[in-house]
């Protein structure tokens, strides 16, 4: 597996994340995703100690509610951008966006690129997650679908919950993974969330609480599933040299990779057993010049507890099939050997697709985690995951220059 010419060792550490902007986040009502996006961009630019006129590149992505991407330069008065693109690799978009931003600043295409993701699926207080996402689906059909789409609808596989449940069940059947193993991930991440002022869910939970939470789609329970959140997060990416002159400690981009398995859904297919993390992680670690043992902190895409489990296996933190016992060992929790999802992740912190793990990674690499700061944080691995394990992206970040 090679990383390809573009991500050769010469680029490792040549770009850095210099600004982070997080809006009010979670159950924040009455604002559009476009408004969150503009707010996040302004916060990130100010965080970096820059002015908006210093930004000459813009990358955007949308959650369920869209909006904003086309309006943003107009809304904010951003003139003569050398880059303005909306990206989509589902939950893997954020990790990919930092890769393209790094390429833009290291190639000389841009001096400083802002990447922003925003979403506002929660319309009213008390709205259920399912209703939020159903209402947010742009272009939902007005009449029941015909033909095979009607068959799929009759099967009831609507939304991501049952599809990830199919993946998790297959893993359980093959490797003996249990709902208690998944619960250990939920409990560990909630323990981290207790220390994060950004987290939505900050009351500790036990494995018994997880086991008592209602089924969504077996084998996934309520506490195996991510939150639904409103908000926006933006990042400023610039060259390592320039980042060293700015307001915040630079977070250097040591390595990056992507891996998209292309499941065949026929005999021999590894859906539910193997994700794209293996390919993506190997590429990123090779570029960074590190091995799995060098990683101090993991910020993993956690739309479901199971996503964390399979991602840990495929990166190589444990053997294939051993993700359950590895999680149950306590390694991921505060005080464990591999601090993982230290802000509570999407399960307990906030759910803004790939910018959830990415934002916490920047905080940890800077050493600004406060009560939840991981003691060792020189090398932070970030994952993105999209579709139903269809997309994967990896970043290796560090507060240390390469």
């Amino acid at each position: 597996m090679t990383s390809g010419g573009v991500s050769g060792p010469g680029l490792s550490g040549s770009a850095a994340i210099a600004g982070l902007g997080i809006t009010d986040i979670g159950k924040v009502y009455g604002r559009t995703s476009a408004d969150f996006a503009a707010d996040a961009v302004l916060r990130a630019v100010a965080d970096a100690g820059l002015r908006l006129s210093d930004i000459d590149g813009l990358l955007t992505s949308n959650g369920m509610t869209g909006g904003g991407s086309f309006q943003l330069p107009e809304t904010l008065g951003m003139r003569d951008l050398g880059l303005n693109v909306t990206l989509s690799a589902a939950g893997a978009t954020a990790s990919a966006a930092i890769q393209y931003a790094a390429m833009a600043v290291t190639s000389g295409m841009c001096d400083a690129v802002v990447y922003v993701h925003a979403d506002a699926p929660l319309a009213t207080p008390g709205m259920s997650s399912a209703a939020a996402y159903a209402g947010a689906y742009a272009g939902a059909p007005a009449r029941p679908p015909q033909g095979f789409r009607g068959v799929a609808r009759a099967n009831g596989l609507s939304g991501a919950n049952p599809l990830y449940a199919l993946a998790a069940r297959r893993h359980m059947e093959r490797y003996g993974t249990t709902t208690e193993h998944l619960g250990a991930i939920a409990v560990a991440q909630r323990a981290w969330a207790v220390g994060s002022p950004l987290a939505t869910m900050r009351t500790p939970i036990t494995l018994a609480d997880h086991q008592a939470s209602r089924w969504i789609a077996e084998p996934l329970r309520l506490l195996d599933c991510c939150l639904v959140s409103n908000g926006g997060i933006a990042f400023v990416v610039t060259s390592a040299e320039r980042a060293r002159t700015l307001a915040q400690p630079p977070v250097y981009v040591w390595g990056w990779g992507q891996g998209h398995p292309g499941y065949s859904m026929e005999r021999g297919c590894e859906f539910g057993l193997v994700s794209g993390a293996g390919m993506s992680g190997a590429t990123a670690m090779k570029m960074a010049g590190i091995s799995i043992a060098d990683i101090d902190v993991c910020e993993l895409y956690d739309c479901y507890t199971f996503t964390v489990l399979i991602t840990l296996e495929d990166y190589g933190f444990c053997a294939k099939g051993e993700g359950g016992p590895f999680a149950a060992s306590g390694a991921l929790a505060p005080g464990g050997a591999l601090p993982t999802n230290t802000g509570g992740g999407q399960l307990s912190g906030y759910y803004l697709w790939g910018v959830t793990p990415l934002s916490e990674a920047v905080i940890q690499a800077r050493g600004q985690g406060g009560r939840r700061q991981a003691p060792s944080h020189d090398v932070v691995l970030v994952s993105g995951n999209g579709g139903v394990l269809d997309f994967h992206g990896t970043l290796i970040l560090s507060g240390q220059p390469r």
Partner: protein, 137 residues
């Protein structure tokens, strides 16, 4: 919503055979590769993923396979449950369909047979049953 399914041009041949209790899947004329009649979210493949030929034809399948995975979906609104499974057909493609079986009796690798139900009186849609089991209703 009663869950009934209406046919369209792309699914007409499939439903005609299903009405007679026969499962049709698609096969590539050029290389013989078998394809599922539909993907899990209802899309169809229009070109052979092995050889890129677009000459795919509806072909009878055995209608048997082994269970790959399944989920029991819980509906909060009415406290109901239903089971959806993925079966690996004898010919190789995966077929996603409702499962008519006690979930406690399911296991990966279990031998399944493809039957048909008519939810809401609409077109017949595939349903997976354990080999030797009778329809529950």
């Amino acid at each position: 919503m009663d869950g009934s399914v209406a046919r369209d041009e792309a699914s007409a041949a499939f439903f005609d055979a299903a009405a007679e209790g026969r499962l049709l899947i698609r096969r590539c004329d050029a290389c013989g590769h078998w394809l599922a009649p539909y993907l899990r979210m209802g899309a169809t493949i229009e070109r052979c993923p092995v050889c890129a030929s677009d000459t795919l034809h509806w072909t009878p399948a055995e209608g048997t396979g082994t269970l790959v995975t399944w989920t029991v979906i819980h509906e909060r609104a009415d406290d109901s449950t239903h089971t959806v499974g993925v079966v690996e057909l004898a010919e190789g493609p995966w077929l996603t369909a409702r499962v008519d079986a006690d979930p406690a009796a399911l296991a990966a690798g279990a031998s399944m047979v493809v039957g048909f139900d008519r939810p809401g009186g609409g077109e017949p849609v595939p349903v997976l049953r354990l080999v030797g089991a009778r329809p529950s209703d």
